[in-house]
Amino acid sequence: MDFSTTITFNGLIQQFIVGLSRTTILFIVSSGLSLVLGVLRIPNVAHGSLYMLGAFLCYSVATLFGNSPIGFWFAILLAPIGVAIISLATERGLFCHLYDREHLMLLLFTFALMLIFHDAVKLIWGSEYRSLTPPVIFQGSLPILGMPFPKYNLFLLSIGPIVAVGLWFLTQRTKIGKIARAAAVDRDMVGAVGINVSWVFASVFVIGCFLAGLGGALVAPTQNITQGMDHTIIMEAFLIVIIGGLGNVWGALLGALIFGLTDSMGIMILPQFSIVFPYAAVVIVLIFRPKGLLRATW
């Protein structure tokens, strides 16, 4: 085997930025998963399927507009909204009647959702690969430190902080966010002061699913849109949530950084074994912090 890959400083920087844009997607998806886990205390196994649904919806909306730039923006916006509406209907129609049941039932329910969404996507879009080209302004690359850098990845990099600030504002500054934080710790007491916890759960669930859809829509122009992209992301998102601290949105940010950066830097160092790096990082984190890096909400 030849390990003599030359690692240059500029190359490192470039991989670092690629890793950061990958981190953005991972953060958006896993923060939604973590939010739902923290407040509803349910690991939503169908979260990855909603991500996939977001990607397919994004493709369809963009195609509907003949791949025009306007169509792209509509698609980025409408796909997560579509996912949110579907999740709201699911929550109000089915899920909310199960909150009093035992935990295993709820977990099984989200598992069933995953299977249903998976087959629904297959029925609607078939099993071929789809791909989406970003609008002209995001095509090509910009030179950074003398290295060409894809413009779309730079766009992704700018979305990450916006989502992070939005989540901070939502959880810390809005009333619904404060109620959600209280419900994460003591849902009975939230009910006893006259708040309908069921609607709090619905809102949090929909916001979490919106983030899954947003992640899917944003990732659509960077990779093949296919069946199976749900399984990859749900594995990664769960690992990120676990190393970050269950239910902690900032833990999801930290976890996504570790996962995304070890992944992209690993490719530089040992390309043959690159897939191992993020998982090795997860193992190392869990050896030293079995409960995750930041405080779990429950």
Binding site: K175, I179, A182, V185, D186, G191, V193, I195, N196
Partner: protein, 232 residues
């Protein structure tokens, strides 16, 4: 205002309340006395809807609330102060009150400003996380949190438990002020001095059954009952 009639309540499979009945009239402070484990807290939680009784009925303001969801019971005008306080640890004092606050059309309704006047110490720690407060401060906060929901009936479960005598005196004083402000109170207490000093009527609870009921004056004179059910 509150009629509890023959309720049977369970925690999982353990039977806690055996056909318990009690009445609270508007404007009264009624106390529920009894040893640890007698069923005082379960009674409170059953009334609030947190541990719905399997049999019997609960009427509040002439409406049947048996099996009703806690948030609807709260909105009807019932405030709950649990024995383990259960402030929202992750939120500041002010946020605890903000999310609980429910405005009503009444000139003397409770809002955050009035609650800060009522419990002055809370005003100075309004931006502190509730999880960092002392026991006395948390107790003030749980009562304040119940007050901003503008209840007509307040369920106070062991408000003085584990607190320093000075704080207990202050709370007793405040509870009297609440009665004077027109609130009806059902008070569960292990601290007899507090309970007997505050209440108009009392019930003695033992192993999930009411053993005695009557005016506080009569109870204080009934040494046999006092010794049998209350002295350790």
């Amino acid at each position: 205002m509150l009629q509890v009639d023959g309720i049977q309540s369970f925690y999982g499979s353990s039977h806690i309340l055996f056909g318990l009945s009690l009445t609270v009239n508007r404007g009264e402070i009624v106390c529920l006395l009894g040893r640890n484990g007698a069923g005082k807290s379960t009674t409170m939680k059953s009334i609030m809807g947190l541990v719905p009784p399997r049999q019997g009925s609960i009427r509040f303001k002439d409406e049947n609330i048996t099996g009703q969801k806690p948030y609807l019971i709260a909105r009807m005008g019932m405030g709950f102060v649990p024995d383990d306080r259960r402030v929202f640890f992750d939120l500041t004092v002010d946020e605890n009150l903000e999310i609980s606050e429910r405005r009503i059309e009444k000139s003397d309704s409770w809002n955050r400003d009035r609650v800060y006047d009522f419990f002055q110490p809370l005003k100075h720690i309004r931006s502190r996380k509730a999880g960092l407060l002392s026991g006395g401060e948390q107790q003030m906060l749980t009562i304040a949190r119940a007050l901003v929901t503008n209840p007509e009936l307040l369920l106070l479960d062991e408000p003085t438990e584990g607190l320093a005598p000075m704080i207990v005196d202050m709370l007793e004083h405040r509870i009297r002020a609440l009665r004077d402000a027109g609130l009806t109170i059902l008070l569960a207490e292990q601290n007899q001095k507090t309970a007997l000093g505050l209440s108009d009527r009392g019930y003695i609870l033992d192993n999930g059954v009411i053993r005695y009921q009557g005016a506080i004056k009569d109870l204080q004179e009934n040494e046999e009952v006092m010794r049998k059910y209350l002295l350790v």
